[in-house]
């Protein structure tokens, strides 16, 4: 295998090759490392996927790729979104207020994956504090879509998605709050999965919205997603909201969908979706039927209100989660620390200088939604709407196994196209937010191209249905034949 072919291997293939002895983990790591470093060095000419790249291949010790010979993932390199705390390595959540912050501990899911044998390749760029759908809100520059560098990769896990799509990392960790794994996966033509809420520990994930955030895999194909997820799930005593997953995540093998009932909700598959995306979606539905699935209409009557509820709940939780960034214990402090001024001034100036525009907007929105006199009208109502949305899904799942929608209303849009109108940007999450509110798992797989740009298909299932979900996604993926198709960097 030539060095230039190394990055053609999927993660599962790399694991197998290393296990068989035909590939050196160290060689693989170094190959990826130099490609990632090159992108970082290329600045505006590169994709700007990364906020940190391992400066060298670790020679010895636990970090060395070949130290993982016995572990299931054999030292295969992993790119990790900036907001995961990685001890001693910058973890900034794409924000100036945490620029250069090196945590004294590592996020549980990253530690768990390291125990399973992954090697930390790089930290990936993202929208600041995971707030965004285009990765244009990062304090460390925009990320470019490898399919068309004038376009966005999606967000907030834009760096992770672009890196995997461009072959700069075999696989990556992202987080999904309202669609931040699925949407960039769709725009970049790769696979992204948001697990059941509580299936993966949040300890060490710099928080955006606590009741919505979940870590998940961004990969080239469904097999890799299953493989990475298998080593992510499980109860963590450091996260009170994490749960024990009822059984292991299995490698998917299904090739047909006989007996599978697929639900298509009117509310998320009509108005507002680009023609090219809808065409791709319907083509995928037809393919599913060829594989033996039954497609039927379902109704999610409260889905049209999901975005409204989300844009109350998420900013509200964020306004509280981001209160800790005040210049006292870590991160940016405005002014000269040796000569402290007035405390209030320190707080407000630090947060003014350290937070970007989108983050400030959401903090304001969230603070307002929780404030005295407004709680019932906004936060209180949004929580109730959330109950109805979850009930809609539960009712639908009595009838069908999975719900299918396009992942996003459009293909990748141009950089700068939607930054003037926050609301226009928020609409990108239209199809993904309902699943987040309900806490159910959902996966996005590429199902075709429209105008030369990838189109994503979303499948959602009931809580803890990841195995069946991955199986169905696998069968479709094999049939559609899109997996692995990648833009050349």
């Amino acid at each position: 295998m030539t060095p230039s072919d190394l990055h053609e291997l999927s993660a599962a293939q790399a694991v197998a090759a290393i296990a068989a002895g035909s590939l050196s983990a160290r060689e693989l790591f170094e190959s990826y490392r130099s490609r990632a470093a090159a992108d970082r060095a290329a600045g505006e000419q590169g994709l700007n996927c990364f906020t940190w790249v391992a400066s060298e291949c670790p020679e010895r010790g636990a970090d060395a790729p070949d130290a993982h010979a016995g572990a299931p993932l054999r030292g295969v390199p992993l790119a990790v979104k900036d907001l995961f705390c990685t001890e001693g390595v910058p973890s900034q959540s794409g924000s100036r207020i945490l620029e250069g912050y090196r945590p004294p501990y590592t996020a549980s899911v990253v530690a768990r994956l390291a125990d399973a044998g992954t090697s930390l390749l790089a930290k990936t760029n993202q929208d600041e504090f995971a707030m965004g759908s285009s990765n244009e809100n990062s304090a460390f520059g925009v990320v470019r879509n490898p399919w068309d560098r004038a376009r966005v990769p999606g967000g907030s896990s834009g760096g992770s998605a672009a890196a995997v799509a461009a072959g700069l990392a075999p696989w990556a960790l992202g987080t999904d709050t309202g669609g931040s794994i699925r949407q960039p996966a769709a725009l970049c033509g790769i696979v992204g999965l948001k697990p059941t809420y509580g299936a993966v520990s949040r300890y060490g994930m710099i928080a955006f919205a606590s009741s919505l955030d979940q870590a998940g895999p961004l990969t080239r194909d469904v097999t890799d997603a299953a493989l990475l997820l298998a080593h992510m799930v499980g109860h963590d005593p450091c996260d009170a909201t994490s749960l024990a997953f009822p059984g292991p995540i299995e490698p998917p093998t299904a090739e047909r969908l006989d007996g599978v009932r697929l639900g298509v909700p009117d509310e998320l598959t009509g108005e507002g979706i680009q023609a090219g995306v809808l065409a791709g979606f319907h083509a995928a539905l037809a393919r599913a039927q060829e594989l033996g699935a039954q497609v039927r209409e379902v109704s999610l009557p409260h889905a049209p209100h999901a975005l409204s509820a989300y844009y109350v709940l998420a900013p509200a939780e964020a306004s509280s989660n981001l209160a800790r960034y005040d210049g006292v214990r870590y991160g940016l402090r405005a002014g000269d620390p040796a000569h402290p001024e007035d405390l209030l001034h320190m707080y407000t100036r630090t947060r003014h200088d350290g937070f970007g525009a989108e983050v400030k907007r959401r903090i304001m929105l969230g603070t307002y939604a929780l404030s005295s006199g407004y709680y019932d009208a906004y936060y209180g109502r949004a929580q109730r709407a959330r109950t109805k949305i979850a009930e809609d899904f539960a009712a639908a799942f009595e009838d069908v196994h999975f719900i299918l929608t396009p992942t996003t209303p459009s293909v990748a849009f141009k950089l700068g196209e939607k930054t003037g109108e926050p609301l226009a940007m928020y609409l990108n999450d239209y199809c993904t937010v309902p699943m987040s509110l309900a806490g159910i798992p959902a996966i996005s797989i590429p199902c075709g191209l429209a105008d030369g740009l990838p189109v994503g298909l979303q499948l959602a299932g009931p809580a803890f249905s990841e195995n069946r979900l991955l199986a169905a996604a696998y069968a479709l993926e094999q049939s559609l034949g899109f997996q692995g198709a990648r833009a050349r960097v």
Binding site: Y197, H305, S319, R329, A338, F355, M364, A377, A463
Partner: protein
């Protein structure tokens, strides 16, 4: 709006106030859509985990057993200002 900014300890420069107000109004108008729904008898979901697994919620409480603390120099390592082993800040007013 300045009141909200104060609650959130966000300084807003003169030229930031108007655009912020405009953007927030647009969003608020959109999210006000949830006022259309009839939600009177609906219980709020404050914890989605609990609702996805009825009664099967273990490990929510922690045993009262000591775990290793951070060494002090690590705790203070990222601090902008330190004195006498503590985080130095301007004094709060009254």
């Amino acid at each position: 709006m300045l009141h909200v900014a104060r609650l959130a300890r966000l300084e807003l420069a003169e030229d930031e106030i108007e655009p912020m107000a405009r953007e927030l109004s647009a969003v608020l108008e959109h999210v006000a859509k949830i006022a259309e729904l009839d939600l009177d008898d609906v219980p709020p979901t404050s914890h989605v985990v609990a609702s996805s697994l009825e009664g099967v919620v273990s490990g929510a409480l922690r045993a009262d057993e000591p775990r290793p603390c951070l060494a002090r120099d690590l705790a203070l390592a990222q601090a902008p200002a330190v004195r006498d082993g503590g985080f130095l800040v301007p004094s709060p007013q009254a």
